[in-house]
Symmetry: C2
Subunit: 354 residues, 2 copies
């Protein structure tokens, strides 16, 4: 049994409390300054996003109470959006006990802006931690895989991959799993993290097909969706290869598995559908935000372009996107270049195969 604090009371932060509590751990859930209404409602017995009560044993904390929320815990989960990650991590550092050893588990996906650079969230965390505690080891797992919060909190069989920085973390993992939440450890933290960024981008592509074809061709463009799904996997594998990570990572839960669920359902897919149907990229993003949702793929795509450029030299990477990632290039042209989706998509199809 562990004392665990989960930071962030949105979808994933709240959902992870289900297996953690079911496995007998003591779980504190802390909401950010954006989560007050979620905490308030949860205290009354109903989480508005998950549409159900949280597990009884979960203790709830408002953002002002980070200190008490962390007091007994050595295990900390991040259920923060990529946009809020750096700020929450900075705040967290002020509350950590220098005498304790912590284990961090990051549900946050995607790239972050940190010190005027675009980096993986774990790189930013590592740097902030090392500045504060230069003599301590930073033990982090980055979590990915096909896990929608609603399904997890409904206790449906789900599989998650934990990319670990440190073999010590491997021993703890069975204490988080249940008969419906299965955990697969991976030593390729970096690969897992990169996959979890790009699957949000490529999930836009699946929705994009719906936006273009759904109106007039219901039930008759499965081939196209699967063609694009496959192309997404092919391109993610190239990115993983270029990053020096393990190919196995992309062909397993963090890549293929997570892309599968994200392409089937969810906000990024829906974002793609809006864009494919002709709504411009920015307007579509604003629509999601108005509905209280967050289009992570839209942000990730914006950050991915310069990030991919840093993978090689700038000129080489420009060619890398154009030549090797034609689907990502198409998404960029439509989402950020205001290109017309149908003609861009037709051009893409003609670039593929013979």
């Amino acid at each position: 049994m562990h004392n665990i604090t989960v930071l962030g009371a949105g979808y994933m932060g709240s959902a992870i409390t289900f297996p953690l509590a079911d496995n007998g751990n003591k779980v504190n859930l802390w909401g950010t300054w954006l989560d007050d209404s979620l905490i308030e409602s949860s205290l009354k017995g109903f989480h508005p996003k998950l549409k159900k009560p949280l597990p009884e044993k979960v203790n709830l904390y408002y953002w002002q109470d980070m200190g008490p929320a962390l007091e007994d815990s050595e295990i900390i989960f991040f259920g923060i959006t990529s946009e809020g990650f750096v700020n929450v991590f900075k705040m967290l550092l002020e509350h950590l006990n220098p005498k304790k050893d912590y284990y961090f588990f990051k549900l946050t996906k995607g790239l972050v802006e940190y010190n005027n650079e675009i980096v993986r969230a774990s790189e930013a965390a590592n740097d902030m931690f090392a500045n504060k505690f230069p003599d301590k080891i930073f033990s982090l797992a980055t979590i990915a895989g096909p896990v929608r919060a609603n399904d997890l909190s409904h206790r449906m069989p789900s599989a998650s991959v934990y990319g670990i920085s440190d073999e010590k973390l491997r021993i703890i993992l069975p204490d988080f799993s249940t008969d419906y939440y299965r955990i697969f450890p991976s030593s390729d933290l970096k690969g897992v993290e990169i996959c979890s960024t790009f699957k949000n981008i490529y999930a836009i592509a699946a929705g994009f097909c719906d936006g273009i074809y759904k109106k007039e061709n219901i039930g008759l463009y499965y081939n196209t969706v699967s063609f694009i799904f496959n192309q997404s996997v092919v391109e993610m594998a190239k990115i993983i290869r270029m990053s020096g990570c393990s190919q196995e990572t992309v062909y397993d839960l963090a890549g293929v598995g997570d892309l599968h669920v994200t392409s089937t359902t969810g906000r990024n897919r829906r974002y793609g559908e809006m864009v494919g149907s002709g709504i411009d990229g920015e307007t579509a993003f604003k629509k999601l935000v108005e509905e209280g949702e967050y289009g992570e793929g839209y942000i990730a795509l914006k950050l991915a372009i310069p990030w991919l450029s840093n993978l090689g030299n700038e000129a080489g990477a420009k060619d890398f996107i154009k030549n090797e990632l034609p689907l990502l290039d198409t998404l960029r042209n439509v989402v950020y270049g205001n290109c017309e989706p149908v003609s861009e998509f037709k051009k893409l199809i003609m670039k593929l195969g013979c």
Copy 2:
């Protein structure tokens, strides 16, 4: 422009005539002895399975007219079920002109029974051809990828992989492709063929989840479907590795891509749904047959067990299925072992991850 004869007037045989004819080829479509009603209706302007007229320029032939159907052609497509493949191939051999060089393209998926052995369809074809024409080269492409016949005949963007036995075939492929039918050549014929067998088996697994969970959990078990999709890819990759084929094949259109479309829709997925909901394996198969459909995955699963055994020695392979292919093992237990689906599925979940 080529003269092309397509054998088999069912879903795929008929659908492939669309890109072939649209690309300016002269196309003959020959129906087997089971296809008389399809030919009759198509002659009147309506293909009953595709629910539309075939392209105007396609010439139609009843099974008695194989000779005339083949007369001018050097390119022959097989759109035959795996059960009918050997018999049609034997019949074909009687009509081939020994002075001509033929190119064969096989849409047939799966394993076949041939000379009391279970072999890949291309192995059977190769052997029959070599016996009849010992001095001739047998040039064959095996076709796979996420291509549903209905979508293809609706001219929706589709991607197909052609596993070729012979580099000469590569040159012809652009003569079959159109702006909606993109062709990807592969030198791994064997790997493409094995993938096209096993994706039909693993598509049962996707339906299986629906059978177990759909009734009471609509919209809340996407995680489970994606978990199982991912596990299918992992197990197909192991089979491909054990067969000595290229890993790239399974992570591209023949594997991931085709599994994606087959798991999303179609007969094998539906078969799995019936079995998951508690209908026994044989009854579910008979139901499909009564509706004029054919459950290729059910047959493929039956043939796959002894075929996998021949991959190693018999004892080793038995362990290989049990230890390395737990999902396939579960499908076997339910479909052919009359095990109860829900408890078998729960056992499977507990075997995966930690």
